[in-house]
């Protein structure tokens, strides 16, 4: 770990399937304005900006240039980071490293997406290798469905286990004024919802949302001066190991295992289930909420349904609340989704999470997911690392 950095402000837009009232630039301005308000700062106190989204969802080349009016980046240093679904967390990492480098004291990370402006599945299909994999590529849902069938087959997980996760995240979203889908559902509702791609059903799956998020990172001295209770970055680890979908390990998630292991080592976490007070996890589908608990070392491989899901420890009143915000299943503005995880985790530590606040949060876990089974892990803490 190098220079220490804390998050001192977060801003989110209200998410919806179609924010017809706001263009992409207006959405970004909404998030940036709210982040500045949250941090009680003005734009001239921001030293540098990093922005991310997925190009083909809005068909805008050089988004960092186009976003100037909303970003407040006129005559400021700015660059763009783009890594698919993980963009939100990698843009957070970029802002973190920028502030930790000593070159900039206060750096704002902005993620955004207007999925309403395009056909998400067609645009996402272009991520696959055009010669080898693009023709049969079934969009985002296919691979997720496939990995869960392998998990069910290997370890006896069930569709109901996934439904429990969907119910948890969707009901949690009722406490989150920013969330896109806020609906009270039961396991039965989920099980009866239309099948998308076996075993993933409609209510198991995340939406595509319009929205933006801005998170302000500050180097230690500045963070202490500007914020009463910064959310200190304890670890940021990225593992984007795969290039082809055909290379993936399907029964467990190697990238998440490796990324979280490394992050826990850096942050000195030996028992994640006990030591984290809250987790905002990038779970694009309820099935991942079952399967990936193993890969976060919360339990042994295959044990998630029995030890995690069916015991209720990840509910709001459980030992380790997962996704108090409703997570990705409730809200998914892809370029911002990972950043929302980091922002929500930060708010939990800063005590600014409103009705979804978990009491006494000292350590928070946030993850990002995307691309070809890629994983990003962030650990935040109330104390300096």
């Amino acid at each position: 770990m190098g220079n220490r950095v804390g998050i001192i402000g977060v801003g989110q837009t209200h998410h919806a399937a179609h924010r017809l009232d706001a263009s992409g630039v207006e959405l970004i301005a909404e998030a940036v304005t709210r982040a500045l308000d949250d941090a009680q700062m003005t734009l001239d106190q921001i030293d540098a900006i990093v922005i991310g989204n997925m190009d083909h969802f809005e068909n805008i080349n050089y988004v960092d240039m186009w976003a100037t009016d909303g970003l407040g980046s006129f005559l400021k240093p700015v660059f763009k980071v783009t890594t698919g679904g993980t963009t939100g967390t990698t843009v957070a990492a970029a802002a973190y490293y920028s502030a930790a480098s000593g070159l900039f004291d206060v750096v704002m990370a902005v993620g955004w997406e207007k999925n309403s402006e395009s056909d998400t599945q067609t645009a996402i299909a272009t991520c696959s290798n055009p010669v080898l994999e693009r023709d049969p590529f079934p969009g985002a849902i296919g691979p997720l469905a496939t990995e869960y069938t392998m998990y069910m087959d290997a370890f006896g997980a069930t569709e109901e286990d996934a439904a429990i996760v969907a119910v948890r995240d969707r009901n949690n979203a009722l406490n989150n004024p920013y969330a896109h889908n806020r609906m009270r559902v039961t396991v039965e509702d989920v099980m009866n919802s239309p099948m998308l791609s076996y075993p993933v059903k409609f209510l198991d799956m995340c939406p595509r949302s319009d929205g933006s998020c801005a998170v302000i990172f500050a180097a230690e001295e500045k963070a202490k001066k500007l914020c009463p209770r910064p959310a200190w970055v304890h670890a940021s680890v990225v593992r984007h190991d795969y290039t082809h979908f055909g290379d993936l390990e399907w029964q467990w998630m190697p990238t998440l295992e490796r990324a979280s292991l490394e992050a826990y080592k850096i942050a000195g976490i030996t028992n994640p289930l006990k030591e984290f007070d809250v987790a905002e996890l990038y779970l694009p589908c309820s099935t991942t909420g079952v399967k990936w608990m193993d890969s976060l070392w919360f339990c042994d491989r295959g044990e998630s349904p029995k030890r995690i899901i069916r015991t209720g420890i990840t509910e709001m009143d459980g030992q380790l609340p997962v996704n108090p915000s409703g997570g990705v299943i409730a809200t998914n503005p892809i370029g911002a989704t990972g950043l929302n995880r980091v922002g929500e985790a930060a708010w939990q530590i800063m005590g600014r999470a409103g009705d979804r606040q978990v009491p006494n949060v000292k350590k928070a876990l946030a993850t990002g997911f995307g691309g070809c089974s890629w994983s990003d892990v962030f650990i935040l803490g109330a104390d300096l690392p």
Binding site: A29, K114, S116
Partner: protein
């Protein structure tokens, strides 16, 4: 080791990204386009802090980052700040066959320029500093092309 590379057939897969797009214009520009489409008028907005006037309008002043709620109607005239006479044809992209002219017109009443076509004049006669006025298209649908082009003020 690399001999087989010299002998292998070189296959090329043509491809195209065909994703339909529908951009949300947003509140600020929607108001601008409604003035243009319905009334044939070009408006601008002004920063309450520094007074800078922008056309096309901005969601926030880029210098002050303040919301802008003051709107002003522009006369639609301006001065050619720079231009180019285009001599190549990019089908599907260019609105006209060459030669045609693009220009940045510094708009009267505003602090910014508007990039558009310069027409109704022989391309060879376009000059920097030329006074021009917007020609509003008869058929309008709320796009930048509701301005047909800028032509020299007689």
């Amino acid at each position: 080791m690399s001999d087989w590379k010299d002998e292998v057939e070189e296959i090329v897969f043509p491809g195209k990204i065909s994703v339909p797009y529908a951009w949300t214009v947003g509140s600020t520009l929607s108001k601008w386009f409604v003035h243009l489409r319905d009334d044939g008028e070009i408006w601008a907005n002004r920063c309450p802090s520094c007074g800078k006037v922008y056309v096309p309008p901005k969601i926030k002043c880029i210098e002050c980052y303040k919301d802008m709620n003051d709107w002003v109607k522009l006369p639609g005239t301006g001065t050619v700040e720079t231009f180019t006479v285009v001599h190549y044809h990019e089908p599907g992209l260019h609105p006209k066959k060459p030669p045609f002219v693009y220009g940045v017109v510094k708009m009267d009443g505003a602090d910014t320029g508007l990039v558009h076509l310069i027409g109704g004049v022989d391309p060879d006669r376009v000059k920097v500093g030329m006074r021009v006025q917007a020609v509003i298209a008869k058929e309008r649908d709320g796009h930048i092309t509701d301005i047909k082009h800028f032509r020299p003020i007689a």
